[in-house]
Symmetry: C2
Subunit: 325 residues, 2 copies
């Protein structure tokens, strides 16, 4: 068995030299970290748990588990238009791995690689950690900053706004379906969407001052739109034809199942935003510069609930009013 | 099964009216919370996991589990001399509880009671949560503030400083021993020390500007003193006779086992501090006002490691140089 202190030291200490620029007065290794928030910024904080066989398969590669646990947490900062700054990780290792030194070292080295690579990509420093043994569970707390008053929330959507999403939908559910069928190649675009999601932090920042409301799509478009609609007290109408489907999704599942995955599959970690119609073009240009699509998929109205628009060849999507919570 | 959204809403939303005074621009319920740090303060952050049957017994009362999970995390803020402000909680509920609505509601209501009572006691707002199902595990992230440059760290101890502890030691281990013997009355002073530890936040604040180094005692005095010694690069000499033993500990375990519990039992969540000898009296007066003892138990020297002082009637404690990591 590895000592917790040794584990944290070896795999999770942030390089000290990076501290000065990252607003860290004292990093990992004392009772707590000391951070220096920037003046004029609000602090944006969120926590997300990733549990084995609930949020990721037990036989997923360790680097993907590390990446994914951080990615789903960072996605919440993206949804607020925040810049990521710091993270803390409560890692409960599988007991059998924890008690086998060689297995633990191998697993942790891979896990840390995935976690740190994403940290680096988004300039996020790991400033605190706790490692215990039990059933594999990872709680990641992320902290970011946003200029005061500029955060994107769920509650600002207005009647007349368009509803749009970044990137493409259904990839999370499509990847899970493929994993269950035995696909293990992480370069497969759908598997990558499921196990290596990319938090849309740059998109969130780019949409500051443009989006009237924003949230990330983790529970599925319909469920999440239900949350946004409730928080903003508007109705929503969706054009199912317009949903941007993830690469390879229709080929893998067929059109009907692909649309269902995009509507309610979850785990996509794209941003769901509302915009005044006159701002859509500016928003699209900004996201294009980031290599990311912005697709209008509906609009806000003053009807109750979420309603769908009929497709001529598919009566199934005609009405799903009330489907969303 | 309860929906996660409903769970968080019902049991863990902080009252909105408290937000204005607590530096919360936007609380629980959006993708992330928006906090407003105070100017001139550093942010102090830490995370701690509490795992069933590792950190607390599976049959501990739910309110004690809630209290304890937060207490051990807050203890790290106390050790930095910080004022507690905000917390986030990643709760993985036991699957069988999660899937039984009545059981889940009863457990959560009790759990939340313990968690919130301690929140209130230390003016800490819960600003984020995630509830999942698996093996009962709680990750608590705490955030506090300390005036810039005033944090107590592990690395400031000087040769010639005295070593002191707040309160009394060995109660955590003594309580665990009693629990294993079947004692279930939480008003028993040792059981209270084990399951309802009190984070020494006020003591940490009171010791700002006086203590040269501080940390909380979670792994046991010897192990934690080993961490402090390493960080400060000093040697430590302990007077085992001087160790303040928890109420009822000697009666429950006998003197020898009581001293062992105080030295290496862990889970005490008292503060271990070093002080220049001329500041001891001031520090003691400040803690007396908080109803808390401060006991000198040794001093820092320039020898390597941690050494013990002989008791005439007990050769066993004569030398434990090298025991601590």
């Amino acid at each position: 068995m590895l000592g917790e202190f040794e584990l944290i030291q070896r795999y999770f200490m942030s390089p000290q030299e990076a501290h000065a620029t990252a607003g860290i007065a004292l990093g990992n290794g004392d009772d707590a970290a000391l951070l220096v928030p920037q003046a004029g910024q609000q602090l944006v904080v969120s926590v997300d748990s990733s549990v084995v066989d609930v949020h990721f398969p037990h036989d997923a590669p360790a680097h993907a588990i590390g990446h994914r646990a951080l990615a789903v947490a960072l996605s919440d900062l993206a949804a607020m238009g925040a810049t990521a700054r710091w993270s803390l990780m409560a890692l409960t290792l599988d007991k059998s791995v924890f008690n086998d030194r060689a297995a633990a070292e191998q697993w942790l080295a891979e896990y840390a690689k995935g976690f740190h690579a994403l940290c680096q990509q988004h300039a996020t420093a790991l400033v605190g950690g706790d490692v215990t043994a039990g059933a594999l569970t990872i709680g990641v707390t992320v902290m970011g900053e946003v200029p005061s008053g500029m955060a994107l929330t769920r509650s600002g959507a207005q009647v007349g706004d368009v509803i749009a999403v970044t990137g493409a939908l259904g990839g999370g559910a499509g990847g899970l379906a493929l994993w269950r069928q035995g696909e293990r190649e992480l370069t497969h675009p759908l598997l990558a969407r499921y196990l290596l999601p990319q938090p849309r932090l740059a998109a969130g920042v780019a949409l500051r001052g443009l989006a009237t409301a924003a949230m990330d799509i983790s529970d599925g478009l319909l469920a999440d739109l239900g949350h946004l609609r409730k928080a903003s007290q508007v109705g929503c109408s969706l054009e199912v034809d317009a949903l941007p489907l993830a690469e390879g999704l229709q080929e893998a599942l067929g059109l009907e199942a692909a649309r269902k995955a995009a509507l309610s599959g979850g785990d996509d970690y794209e941003l769901l935003v509302t915009l005044a119609p006159e701002n859509v073009e500016t928003a699209r240009q900004r996201l294009t510069e980031l290599g990311l699509a912005l697709t209008v998929i509906g609009h806000c109205n003053d009807n109750p609930g979420v309603t769908g628009v009929a497709r001529s060849d598919n009566e199934g999507w005609q009405h799903f009013s009330g489907v969303a919570p």
